[in-house]
């Protein structure tokens, strides 16, 4: 009795009905277990395929689900507050506080009271004339006046996120914190250095004198009851915040800090209730600083955060009509957008996932084919189709249950490992443990992916089993006339072509949406993601067509095979020519993998190259200097230009104004210097070159450069007149002539669109001549300088020198806006380049696994053939070389076609993938191929495939010729 007999033939005994059912069940289970045990290798391949496919899907799901929570929490934690509330009915503030603090979404509410503080006032009488401050009564021993921010001690723990503090960032009773500028002023007043730990006497004003009605004397400050002697300076701070609530409340132009620049923080608790009442009564409106609970804010997902915040604002305003709520909606929305973009970029894994599922399908097909004798034997023994299918179904249930459990485990582990390593390449235990702390498993995703993968696997397996079960009947049925067969082929080709055309149409249509813009939002993101999915389908179709072409071509390449393989070419060519299905599948799959791999590598290198170019463009020139305080541009151009190594320098005056109904940033610059110093690209202006545009701007004071978006929105044309109004601190309106349309500028970023990387205050900026600022607007200050370095100058030395000479200036900051939300996201969802790299590695692994499975299968099919060759005097070494040669032919031919096809597909993909890769097309994204990485990927695929094939061949060839020959019978 052979092994199959032992498996399937049972003994017949007299049994009751129930016993029969039970014993039948047990028998089937035993049979299934025995089948699995006897086919360890096949089952292992299937299990690996299933676990791999499911793990990739589960990892992606768990990773993104978990990431969004951590990202949201992290980001919210970095924000000082999310909202401030004020009201003109100051006596209602306590009620507003009481309501707000009890709201379920609110974690903390802190009081904020603005006033001014005085130093060096002790020896001055009530009639001391203080105004104007730089010309007060005793300028040899003046009073120092500064903004005072009265906040609770615990509020400083949140506010300090905006500050760079020397000393301690604490505000206990008896302590004050002082700005760097104020400390420098006191050093002049007291004629000594001011450091953290020093004691000072400070007076907190209970009212602000109204100089318009002549309140020029000390007594109008009402400080008699609020003098605090021997207060310790706990810390000296510089403002470093960006888009935060404090910045909105107290900030000035850009990121200069406004009222924080020259100020102190004072503990509110040190004031009596009466003091606070008086301050309120004098019209210094208190505010409530609101910190929300991260978990509550992100309930419903990151996308819900802006809505949840708006809802809080509405709840307050509906109850207190007089309340005004400012919410940090733009920043929270940016975070939601950026997260959506990063999350969507994980769709770039789709080709890898689809390939993995495909791998499982092919492996399952091979396994069933290997078992066709077994199916035949079962039929011979009288098994009906249902029984045979039941056996395979039982095996499927066991294998898939095991794979599912293993995949969930692997998914959880991988989801934690990717960000743990992905951030900087080194394992971070903190990130790893945080992932487990926040772990989110979506039962919906698990269910969908399991049904998808296991359903495909089961469907394909059963279809194959059924086709073998019904083979003879099927074969008798397929005797059709030639006309019918041709009709069948025609229908298939037609359906194929129509589907392909449909997918191509989708790709073209979505690409059109994306190409129309350079600043990408939700619409373009969705179009990009859809285009990607349609494009993957197109790649599958094209790979199938092209692989068929390759197979036909290989059949005709006898001379080439003769030339390469010499003596071995006869059998190699014959094997290639016979084109078994497994060889056809191998060509198709390898082509697909290589094409996708090339696409991934090309898109990755293009993105990275674009990032480098974009960073350089955003920086603007060799040297970018950002000042924390507005400085006189002309004066500092001279000072900075005198530093050794600095060649040419240009500064930008800046102010806020209104164009139409929109607030814009207005920059003033010397156009010709900017042309010379800035790293311009041909794409910077719309419809003209930087040379023409900037020369034209320089020609007339009435010229203005607008973003092409403003021009199109307001239906302007170049040469047309327009007005800019409400220059903050300047004239009400000025007339200009539109001289050119700009998309972006070096150092300034995109002209239209929220550009969080640049931390620009407004949605748009416009460019004027420097002379207009100096002569018509009357603004001399700005915060930005661009400069070129002298040839051979060391940029690091220049940076150190400038930062030492001007402590409130930053040179070539690594990140222009370090608070850019993207930097938080990439901590947990690695940068797109890493996603693409991981995708490429997965594709590589799939490629190698497939080559190995195929080789094993092909060898299994050919074992007896090789036994005959060996019996005829063939040499094992020769057979090995033949096999390796055969695999190499397919590898090389698919490489030769797949790489150009991949490059071509990258070119197409880049037209619609931009929204997934970058938030804005600041510089024109042009194709860049990292041939080094591509070579590494391709060579590792080939080497791993060939090296993996050799042991399989060796193992497969370790058989007894006689036994194999007997098996043929």
């Amino acid at each position: 009795m052979n092994e199959l007999d032992k498996n399937y033939v049972g003994e017949e005994k007299e049994q009751s009905f129930l016993e029969k059912i039970f014993s039948g069940f047990l028998y089937n289970i035993r049979l299934i277990l025995k089948n699995i045990r006897n086919r360890k290798k096949s089952m292992l391949i299937i299990t690996i395929g299933l676990v791999f496919s499911l793990s990739v899907l589960f990892t992606s799901s768990i990773w993104t689900e978990t990431s969004q929570l951590i990202i949201a929490d992290d980001y919210i934690e970095t924000l000082d507050y999310e909202m401030y509330v004020s009201t003109y009915l100051t006596n209602a503030m306590d009620a507003v506080y009481a309501y707000t603090v009890d709201d379920y979404i609110v974690r903390q509410v802190d009081w904020y009271l603005p006033t001014v503080a005085l130093f060096n006032f002790e020896d001055k009488g009530p009639y001391y004339r203080w105004y104007p401050e730089d010309n007060q009564e005793n300028m040899s021993n003046p009073v120092s006046l500064t903004s005072a921010h009265l906040v609770s001690s615990r509020a400083i723990d949140r506010i300090k996120l905006n500050l760079e503090v020397e000393g301690n960032a604490s505000l206990n009773s008896g302590e004050i914190m002082m700005s760097y500028v104020q400390a420098k002023q006191l050093e002049v007043v007291y004629n000594k250095t001011i450091s953290p730990g020093d004691n000072v006497t400070v007076a907190i004003s209970r009212r602000i004198p109204n100089t318009d009605i002549g309140e020029h004397q000390m007594r109008f400050y009402d400080i008699n009851e609020t003098i605090f002697a021997n207060y310790t300076i706990s810390g000296i701070y510089k403002y470093i915040g960006y888009n935060t609530v404090i910045a909105k409340l107290l900030g000035g132009l850009g990121n200069t800090g406004g009222m924080l620049l020259d100020s102190i923080f004072f503990p509110l608790e040190d004031l009596t209730g009466i003091d606070r009442f008086i301050i309120d009564s004098n019209g210094l409106l208190p505010r409530l600083l609101v910190k929300v609970d991260a978990q509550q804010l992100r309930s419903g997902g990151i996308g819900q955060m802006p809505d949840n915040l708006h809802a809080l604002s509405e709840r307050i305003q509906i109850r207190f009509f007089h309340a005004y709520c400012y919410i940090l909606s733009q920043e929270i929305q940016t975070m939601a957008n950026e997260y959506a973009r990063t999350f969507s970029s994980t769709t770039l894994f789709t080709p890898a996932i689809v390939s993995t599922i495909f791998l499982t399908i092919l492996a399952s097909q091979m396994t069933v084919k290997k078992r066709k004798e077994e199916i035949a034997f079962l039929r011979l023994r009288g098994a009906v189709s249902g029984q045979i299918i039941a056996i395979f179904f039982g095996e499927f249930l066991l294998v898939s249950t095991f794979s599912l459990i293993l995949s969930i485990g692997t998914g959880i582990l991988m989801a934690a490992l990717i960000p743990s390593f992905g951030h900087d390449g080194f394992f971070s235990k903190t990130l790893f443990t945080r992932y487990f702390e926040y772990l989110q498993i979506s039962p919906y995703d698990i269910e969908i992916y399991s049904v998808l993968v296991l359903g495909i696997y089961l469907g394909i397996t059963l279809l194959n089993v059924i086709s073998f079960v019904r083979k003879d009947i099927h074969e008798s049925l397929i005797i059709t006339v030639r006309g019918q067969r041709l009709l069948g082929i025609g229908v298939k080709v037609g359906a194929f072509a129509l589907t392909l055309a449909g997918f191509i149409f989708l790709v073209v249509d979505y690409s059109r949406i994306v190409r129309a813009s350079y600043s990408f939002g939700f619409n373009t993101l969705a179009a990009s993601t859809n285009a990607l999915l349609a494009f993957i389908a197109v790649i599958f179709f094209i790979s199938y067509f092209v692989s068929t072409g390759i197979n036909h071509l290989l059949k005709t390449m006898k001379k080439v095979h003769n030339y390469i393989f010499k003596q071995n070419s006869f059998l190699i060519h014959k094997n290639i020519k016979r084109q078994t299905k497994s060889l056809k599948d191998l060509t198709f799959f390898l082509l697909l993998i290589i094409c996708l791999l090339t696409t991934f590598v090309s898109i990755r290198s293009t993105t990275m190259q674009n990032n480098v170019l974009e960073d350089a463009y955003r920086r603007g020139s060799d040297i970018r200097i950002d000042s924390f305080i507005p400085v006189n541009i002309t004066e500092y151009e001279e000072k900075l230009g005198a530093i050794e190594g600095v060649d040419k320098i240009v500064g930008f005056q800046s102010i806020n104004a209104i164009v139409g109904s929109q607030h814009v940033d207005v920059y003033g610059v010397d156009p010709l210097k900017f042309l010379e110093i800035g790293r311009w690209t041909d794409n910077s202006f719309a419809g003209t070159t930087p040379e023409t545009a900037l020369t034209t701007l320089a020609e007339g004071d009435s010229n203005i450069v607008l973003s092409n978006y403003i021009v199109e929105r307001l239906e302007f044309a170049v040469g047309e007149n327009m007005s800019v109004t409400d220059f903050r601190g300047g004239p009400f309106t000025l007339q200009f002539n539109v001289s050119s349309m700009i998309k972006s500028a070096p150092g300034l970023g995109i002209a239209h669109g929220y550009d969080p990387k640049m931390s620009r205050e407004n949605f748009e900026w416009v460019l004027l001549k420097e002379d207009v600022f100096l002569n018509q607007i009357g603004i001399h200050n700005g915060t930005l300088f661009l400069a070129t370095a002298e040839e051979g100058a060391d940029l690091e030395v220049i940076k150190e020198e400038i930062e030492e000479l001007f402590p409130l200036m930053k040179v070539n900051p690594e990140k222009i806006n370090p608070d850019y939300i993207g930097y938080f996201i990439i901590k947990y969802i690695p940068h797109i380049s890493i996603t693409l790299l991981i995708g490429a590695v997965i594709l590589n692994i799939i490629g190698v696994i497939y080559v190995l499975i195929s080789t094993d299968f092909i060898l299994g099919q050919r074992r007896q053939e090789y036994a005959v060759i060996l019996a005829l005097g063939g040499n094992q070494g020769k057979i090995r070389r033949m096999l390796v040669g055969e695999i190499a032919v397919f590898l090389v031919s698919t490489l030769l076609v797949g790489i150009p096809l991949g490059i071509l597909s990258s070119l197409v993909a880049l037209t619609f993938l931009k929204p997934l890769l970058i938030p804005h097309e600041v510089v024109t994204m042009t194709m860049h191929i990292d041939f080094g990485l591509l070579a590494i990927m391709v060579v590792s695929l080939c080497v791993a495939a060939i090296l993996g094939v050799i042991p399989i061949i060796r193992k497969q060839m370790k058989y007894e010729i006689v036994q194999e020959l007997r098996a043929i019978v």
Binding site: N562, Q567, S569, F570, L571, K574, N575, K577, R578, Q864, E865, V868, I869, L870, A871, L872, G873, G874, N875, Q876, K878, E960, I961, V962, L965, I968, V969
Partner: protein, 251 residues
Amino acid sequence: MAISQIEVSNLIKTYSSRAEELTVLRSISFKIARGEVVCFLGTSGSGKTTTLNLLAGIDKPTAGKIYYGGKDIHEWSTDQLFEYRLKEIGFIFQEFYLLEHLSALENVMVPIILDGESEEVAQDLALELLNQVGLGGRALNLPQELSSGEKQRVCVARAIVNNPSVLIADEPTGTLDSKTGGEIMSLLLRLAKKNKMAMIYTTHDPYFTKLASKIIVLQKGKIIEHSPDDFEDIGYDKSRFEFLFKGEKDE
């Protein structure tokens, strides 16, 4: 006395499996001279095919020696054994074992190609041999397009294409009708004689023992020697094989 080309001494072959050990050959010894025609006769399981496989070097003995030209072939290296199978042995299988994706011509070409000859040389030689076995007109047909007799003729051509010293045929008529079987045997003998090869074959059919100069009868893995005359009385209808003897007379 003829010089022995093959000398088998105390050959034992045992197949082991998890369940049992099966001894197929129990210390058999015999000699085969150059040009001799030897027939192994015996019932199924007597050890005929195992003996041929061992002689051809495609199976390994459990014990005992097989000397070819005075050297024990199972002490040879793998490469020497390949060389032995390729150049000294021509094997004809009962089940043909033709490579299904190759034409009749290409199947015959395989041993020549394995021997390192060019494709052109192999093609000429193979075609010549196919003509000799009467299959010149079917050279480009695939095995599945040939009848069993034609397949066996291809196998004969494939076996002798490298001009081996020993032709081994394992029940070459086993799957053929008696007429075709007779034709094949006649062809084999003619070619063996023409090329001065020793010929070793097995058969169930005592009638074909007539063609052998030596008959070795195997029974349960042991040799019982007989002469061809011992099979005179078995009762085969000689007339059915008249053509065979005619051929012999012609020779």
